[in-house]
Symmetry: C2
Subunit: 215 residues, 2 copies
Amino acid sequence: MKIGILGSGMVANTIGTKLVSLGHDVKMGSRTADNAKGAEWVKANGSKASKGTFADAAAFGEILFNCTHGMASLEALKQAGPNHLKGKVLVDIANALDFSKGMPPTLAVCNTDSLGEQIQRAFPDVKVVKALNTVNCSLMVNPSLIKGEHDLFICGNDAQAKAKVVEILKNWFGWKSVIDLGDITSARATEMILPIWVRLMGLYQSPNFNFKIVR
Amino acid sequence: MKIGILGSGMVANTIGTKLVSLGHDVKMGSRTADNAKGAEWVKANGSKASKGTFADAAAFGEILFNCTHGMASLEALKQAGPNHLKGKVLVDIANALDFSKGMPPTLAVCNTDSLGEQIQRAFPDVKVVKALNTVNCSLMVNPSLIKGEHDLFICGNDAQAKAKVVEILKNWFGWKSVIDLGDITSARATEMILPIWVRLMGLYQSPNFNFKIVR
């Protein structure tokens, strides 16, 4: 499958590398086509990996992953171009964590709105599925890195898009338990987990943990 | 031990009933001394149960539980009186859930502040320990209601107060795993779990679930 990744940081790199390893054609998009991190990633990942602008990656992908920093996601998607996003599934992994006032970070949007909803509102023709934003990138594509059962949360307005993403999460990335929280307004709920995630990372001095809902 | 409970709702009732069953003397405090729910609770719980105003309960208790609704907690504590709170441990169970705009509720304070911090700032002489606010009251005093391991989060500025509360949670209420997230600013993190808690309750149609941190 042809997959477009928006972003070139650690999350983009991890997701892109995993997808290439599964045999997919992946284009990583950045603000500029000559992005150095993108070039390194292409070099490391061979002929199935390519890079370009946000617009190039969005045009290329049949399915898209938003791996940009949440504070820059709306601008990146604008640069990607609504015409390149139209009708596609966008897996939104971003969190609008604002580190500008020091640690711990705050959320630039929360409570009555969320980044996932902002994206869905700004680009009504894209099928936003919020997912993977509650775990570290090491776990995103390798959930068995930690032992025992643990859960991933997804939400979004389009049932078919969510089913497609659940398939990817389970069959490609190895997730065993995916909890569908409902429509995209549930992005508030998953993005608002980030503050406790940050505290727990500080406590454990490791990002390799996750939530399990016990009933 | 003499324990003061602020509030007369379901959480107050559950905590109070458990404490009386353990042999403690418990006074439930409300806005007015003739509160009907308080009277019912006293009638059901015998001679170790009593009721009065917020000030009566705060004056009575060697340790206090804030079981008021989060939207009313600061006012209730003001009525309780700083002189009755001074030096005491206050277990803050409240969440500032605002239902005035419909479902799902939003938080009246979050992200850059929290109810726990507001209480600690307003009453600097009380030792606020945020705890139990991330589980339903049925679980608060009976964590074994759900099978398997699951975690409770606490935070607060006073290490001795936290140690005392951990002892209560473990020895009186039966909690096996209590995670200390640090100082009272971590109340932001635990209060911000509420949105996903509310969504999960909707999904499961039951409040009997909890979070476990898997590592």
